[in-house]
């Protein structure tokens, strides 16, 4: 602030003051600046980074594999050899929690991928084409909203049976609605913007307008929706596995570990504490990042 005393001092309340003095930057640059200024979002970013390293790095970092059990060492409280203790059949619990985190992240990312693959094209068709396509998509959306999500997921899971692939599919097809709606709403407003009319006057085809002008502008809210959809999907996985209809042994799942701990919780507190802390960290990390992104990318809707 002191070095810039030669120019007219800008009001201190302007958050982008320092940035604006330099050469003009891209919108993304300002978004990154706004994001980094939020303490909670940074905390979230650190948490998410830590989880990704420990989760996806589990094969390299974890003391043992997720299915390696040593019955002789079962039911140990945290010790130096097993920092988080061992479970009732002698798995090293730290390894289990790390692999469980990996499962959660994998399901979270993949399920949101499925939701995107369904929601974005449907939302685009509805928003760009209008007419019958819009009508059909919106009725489908309404039917999906009317069904209670968890019940529908339970229903589908009992039909398909447990498993990582199935749970990704089920969470994906129960959660595309938000993204589809958002995409459509974005396109509906953007379609009426003046720059679209301008592009059309210059002779741009519908496809060019959609790809070059509409999509880039619709991306920001969708990114926010994605980051907020990840914790929701992870929550769904933990919940379904907790109920025993999600992921089965030997694949570790945090939700399943929480459910299994319930019978021993009076004695082996560590079996309940560590997986729940991991779930809470995952949820908090992604939500903080999502909230931060929303404030950074779309300052209007805080």
């Amino acid at each position: 602030m002191q070095t810039a005393s030669t120019s007219t001092p800008l009001p201190r309340t302007d958050p982008d003051a320092r940035v604006r003095r330099g050469k003009p930057r891209s919108a993304a640059h300002y978004a990154v600046r706004r994001f980094l200024r939020q303490r909670l979002a940074l905390v979230g970013l650190v948490i998410v980074g830590f989880l990704i390293v420990t989760g996806f790095g589990a094969p390299l970092l974890a003391p043992t594999g997720y299915a390696e059990a040593n019955l002789m060492e079962a039911n140990q409280f945290p010790t130096r050899a097993h920092p988080l203790g061992t479970d009732t059949i002698g798995h090293d619990f730290l390894s289990r929690v790390m692999y469980g985190t990996r499962t959660s992240l994998m399901v979270g990312f993949a399920a949101v991928g499925v939701a995107l693959a369904v929601g974005v094209p449907l939302g685009m068709i509805a928003g760009l084409r209008g007419g019958f396509a819009d009508f059909a998509v919106m009725r489908l959306v309404e039917i999906m909203t009317a069904f209670p999500g968890l019940l529908f997921a339970i229903f589908l899971m009992t039909v398909l049976g447990p498993g990582v692939g199935n749970i990704i599919l089920v969470i994906g097809i129960t959660s595309w609605v938000t993204i589809c709606r958002l995409m459509r709403a974005q396109l509906l407003t953007l379609r009426e913007q003046e720059y679209v009319t301008a592009a059309r006057c210059l002779g741009a085809t519908d496809l060019t307008i959609a790809v070059r002008h509409l999509l880039p502008n619709a991306v920001a809210p969708v990114i926010v929706a994605i980051t907020l959809a990840i914790p929701t999907a992870i929550f769904a996985e933990a919940g379904l596995s907790f109920l025993g209809i999600g992921i089965n042994e030997p694949t570790p799942s945090l939700g399943k570990m929480v459910a299994d701990s319930a019978s021993y919780i009076r004695v082996f507190w560590h079996l309940g504490l560590f997986p729940t802390v991991a779930i809470a960290l995952i949820m908090l990390g992604f939500s903080f990042v999502g909230d931060g992104l929303r404030d950074a990318l779309d300052p209007r809707q805080v």
Partner: protein, 313 residues
Amino acid sequence: MGRYIAGRLLSLVFVLFAVSIIAFLLMHAVPGGPFAPDEKGRLPEATRQAQLEKFGLDKPLYVQYVRYVGNAVQGDFGVPFQSPTETVTELILRTWPVTIKIGIPTILLAYGLGTVLGFIAALRQNSWLDYTVSFGATLGLVVPNFVVALWLLLFFSVYLGWLDPGGWGEPQHYIMPVVAYALAPMALVARYTRSSILEVLRADYVRTARAKGLAERRVLAWHVGRNALIPFVTILLPEIPNILTGSIFIESVFRIPGLGRFFVTSTQSRDYPMILALVLLIAVLWGITYLITDILYTILDPRIRLGGRAGSL
């Protein structure tokens, strides 16, 4: 107004028909059935046929549906396959009150405390109090309720030894489930109350009320409070049916014999009568809640009119 309510109730009946038909078709379309032969072939074919006949499952679907509706309007919802010694009605009457007994204190705690916290946070905007409430609300919304439930269990039952870890029947068994269950809706209530009060505080009519010299307390109670209640009604009342039908997670952690687990066990065991009854129960609860929401709307905000014609209220 009376006519409007009657019309809405009539349309609720149609919704129930639609919902029951969809649920009926969907559950029969799914592979497997209550007496489907398992891999081990333990159920002899003759017994299977006899069971199917006994429950009328050998008939064509439309016959089954018409029969179901015929019985249902007379109050007979059939016999749950998973507990054949009682009727569906008896099973729901036995387990639902337990869920409601958890649900009502949950609603009171969530909405009472949530409103107060949101109000305080809004009036002291940007103070440490506001930040604490907002941060707590984020935590409450984000951390799953079974995680909170387990933490309460670990702290109050295992570490301190103050409360039973689960069970049902004594007043102390309410404490942990209600707190764990109320946290998320409370966070939602606090958040919405805060933002809607902040919005109303900046409205012109509040400035007018202050300018004409009304006491601050009266401004808050009459002008701010009442208008801030409108989003409260639309967004937060629909949470109530969710709470009243119970949480499978909470009931499972604290071993509460409520209705919640039947949502899972009924789909798993293809308990057709029970699935239909639960789906209809939820549909009725939603229908009534939306109706009440719309009526409350007009009471809180005279600018909104129901049923189209002006003055029809």
